[in-house]
Symmetry: C6
Subunit: 251 residues, 6 copies
């Protein structure tokens, strides 16, 4: 790798970390970025076709509205559909205080926010696309971590279900053996599914109430490509749902 590649690698990793609301670039971001650069160097600096741009705009608008609308997710700092590397668009959260702990409610809202891109597409276009792939990966990992790492599922209880999973090779998972019975595997799957489906329903309810906002944000994005917080909030205000709905949503 020459210098330009390394610069590209760092850039990709930084964007990945940003999408994951991480303040630092971790091992996993580097690894993913290397894979991406290896797999598709020719895709950098591309121009999206019109249909893709439209899907992305609604996808990012969905993320932004749910992230802003739920209690335990971070506020929206910036929304962009300028593609860069593998990233076709993203929502940059507000800088927050440097928090170390996450509650179950935060996990649940984060999962709903991640699913909101897919939900927005379904509401508008009725057809799921591949755009949500990274979101679904994070959703599944978060829901699984709630159940198997953080003891946040009452069915499983205050335990960690793969204590032997972390291995000495810097957190990469190689060849570890499942340490529990098929019965417990089934319970984990059921709990993960319950968490994901429940968050999906919450995102769907919220975005259907706020469909006017969704359309307004997405259409402005298609026009301007980037929205800062001020612009975003301004659009929301101009398209807020009826008070009754907003109140019902607040609890």
């Amino acid at each position: 790798m020459v210098g330009a590649d390394l610069e590209n690698l760092v850039n990709e990793s930084a964007i990945l970390a940003a999408r994951r609301n991480k303040r630092t670039i971790g091992m996993s971001e580097f690894v993913e970025s290397i894979e991406r650069i290896m797999a598709g160097p020719a895709r950098r600096s591309r121009v999206l076709d019109a249909e893709d741009r439209r899907v992305i705009a609604y996808h990012e608008a969905g993320h932004a509205i749910v992230m802003e609308g739920l209690e335990h997710t971070e506020g929206v700092g910036k929304i962009t559909i300028v593609s860069r590397g593998q990233t076709l668009g993203y929502v940059m959260p507000l800088p927050e205080e440097d928090r170390n702990l996450r509650s179950r409610a935060e996990y649940e809202d984060t999962i709903a926010g991640l699913l909101a891109g897919r939900v927005a597409e379904e509401i508008m276009f009725d057809e799921p696309t591949t755009s949500a792939s990274n979101d679904l990966e994070r959703v599944t990992k978060l829901a699984k971590a709630m159940v198997t790492r953080f003891g946040m599922s009452d069915l499983i209880g205050p335990m960690q279900l793969n204590p032997g999973e972390s291995n000495p090779f810097m957190g990469m998972e190689i060849g570890h053996q499942r340490s529990y019975s098929e019965d417990v595997a089934r319970k984990i799957d059921a709990e993960v599914r319950r968490i994901v489906i429940s968050a999906y329903e919450r995102a769907r309810t919220l975005l259907q109430e706020r469909k006017a906002q969704l359309i307004a944000v997405a259409e402005t994005l298609l026009e301007k490509e980037v929205l800062d917080r001020k612009e975003f909030l301004h659009i929301l205000e101009g398209n807020s749902p009826a008070p009754a709905v907003a109140a019902a949503n607040a609890d």
Copy 2:
């Protein structure tokens, strides 16, 4: 490896990527090409026997007609039964805008297009051959990706079912552990099967309606070996199915 081998390697990889509608040669194409060259250097530049040529002609004609006939697949750019390396024939899609997203409908039509080669053989010769091996591999991977990567199966939901699957060794799968229960494995298998069988039926219905086109394209291919888009469309026009059938097929 000497220079000629490398050239051959790049050629094989490029054809493989083309068959997969990829614009760039990825790691997987290189790996497959290396295997092929190691396994059978003596097979290059061979002459097909007459029976094989006939099967291939109908096989490629089947691909072409379904790819052209379904709404979400790419148009046909070129059809050839000139064999080269391991590739006995292929359909080159039209250059399309550089799309980044794929919808469920596109996946379903792509799978139907991939199965159409096998379907054409069954309609004409009643007997499946090994010619569809690469198609079936792609079909299964695409259907599995729909279910486990892109959340396109309602039974499984918006999740990724092997979040730990991608590993740091450039996407090659080595020794990773299945991360879900036997119950979920059974659901995945059932969904993958449902998607494949449904696409197969659609390809079969379409090709049976357009059997005249199939025969015309295949017989011309046997004669000319290569058809460009213009020639291909010309044959289709001269052998279009009855309007009633075409209309029924359009929805």
Copy 3:
């Protein structure tokens, strides 16, 4: 790694070992510390936000009260919520005689003490957080060791269930095969769960009786950040539960 990194590594390892009541730094502490330093060098010397500090204070107070209150756990030497490295707070046990054996009762009380941080959060905030992750890992490993290594489960009996598990690579677990049937796996899971849930209930009962102490210790921690044994015992005395309750708890 330069000198400062190594110093940091040793510090991290020492804190990890202390949290685990180990007198020596083992291989596993080194490995974990390396991972932590690799993953997040930027997080050192951070300031906790107010909400996190409050959760941590109650979490550590919960540990301290249950460790002090149960018969077979070590007394509390020091409590701190000064974060350092990945460690946001911890309870330092009293130096004890150099014991080599542990009884089932000690394991059960140790597990209850480890779960007490999570229990305290639930009593005060109703919502679990990620703070208990390391505690849950230790809890699960201890409960599993009781069942599969030390023959402390009557259902399983005086056996070791993975005699082939310890391997020559310094105790790290790589690729070993489960040596028992699915039936036994199910029994192990049931026993581990029974032990953990039972300890959880004991910690919960004890902390609910001593909620006044919990609040007093946590609030003082928030003010002073560090409590030594004398200060800690002084707070307990000033907030002891009604005698009846204390007596009931003593058996």
Copy 4:
């Protein structure tokens, strides 16, 4: 390895490839040959005992008659019971046009031809021997490939069941994970068994009808050790079954 070993290695590989009707020596033939040479260098140039010779003669005669008698198998070029290396005898097929595709019917007939050696022994001696080991390996691989690679089983459908199976290490199978559920594994096993048993019955029926031919070919082989196509066909003609039977067998 010195020169003579290498020569021996190439010879062994060539014979193996010939027995598999391959025109080129592949990686798998080299690997097997290395194993064989390592395992038993002293067995080269041995003399078979009389009983073994007799079993081999009927075994090869069985192969030859079924290969000649079925519609989709290659004609017999040469039959030999001169042992060389690990190979105690073999049937060399007629040189055929360089075919690339194989139909389901060809696979079914090839499997029947491979099983015919075993069948001949059972008809004549009532007792199976180890002589069929390589045949059974190929039979199982071919039947499994029909089901899992070439989509030739209606129960499984047009899919490939281990898309992740081929790995980058030149086709050698190391540590890949089964990618389907136990349910599908059971269906595959049932289909593979159905294909093998059905081919076995066909070979048995055919050889029982042509028992006179079987005896004539085998006894001539015992006398002459090698038969060319002309000699072989001449024996068949002199011992053809009753016309009614031959006609019934033709469909």
Copy 5:
């Protein structure tokens, strides 16, 4: 490692081998000793606390009385509770003739002798400790070997159930595959459990009859730290159970 480390390694290995009644130090003793030295160099030459010493004394006394009392175990040569390295105490068997074969009865009695340490603790203190960890490991391995290696279980029969288990890496078990069905795994588990529980009951019955001996031996050990055979037998004689009981025990 410097010279002192090597000396220590050899010492540890020798003690381990002695505890296992082995006359030579094997690979497994070296590996275990390396692990122990790496894990806890600081623990050498420690002083046991009083409670631990008491548990160890009864534990070793239990071993000694059952080993002496059963027909097929070796006589007691020396008992010590002087801790050294990881070993807190042990019973040194009498030097015996160099036997090569072991009968099922010897295995059963050896297992009972190994379990007797745990049994003694339960009889005296009602609470199991971690002291029996090594004993339980050996017990499980011996019982499993009886069932799967030596054909000593009628339910399984005269077979070896993991013929592929021993591998070329000097007996260390790495990544081998279980070669039998879940049904057989369940039967093995049941047989291993039956053998262990039955030996446990025999050790318990014997020690309960001889509780006076147990107390006398353990209390003398606490006083003298080491007992030779003569001293041990003298204590037994002074505390022998009623003749009726001894007779009942003799069959």
Copy 6:
């Protein structure tokens, strides 16, 4: 390793090969011999204790009588109970013609012969010992090979059940994956068990009829340590069972 070690290694390997009726030393004999030498160098040239010698004498006499008495096993060339290396005694078969094929009947008789050592001990001493460990390993491998390699089980049929099992690392089994369903695994286990139990019963019946021969051969062995064929046959003649029994046994 120095020269003496190498000599020892070759000796051990040669004995191992001899016990397995192999005419050449294979990879597996070398590997086992290396393990044995590593594990127990001190055991060479040892003297057996009297009880072990007696067990071994009856064990080898059992092998010899059944090997001589069954139709498809090799005749006895020499019997010895002079121990050497790990081998405490063995029966050397008659040199036979260099056979390449083995029938099902030969396998069944070979298995019965291998089990006869264990059977003889049970008839005489009622108690199984560890002496049969190597026999049981071979018995299980042979019975498994009959079922899964040579198609000699009607329940499984003419198939090979682990076609991917042999791997490129010289026949050593490392990390291969089971290629069949749990259902088939259960059937294999049942067939292997059926074959072993049936051979065991045949060996038992034969040795009980010829108990006088068994005692005579074993007692002579204890006296002379080595018997050649002539001596062995002479003892058999002097102790042959009643004609009626011998005739019944002949079919």
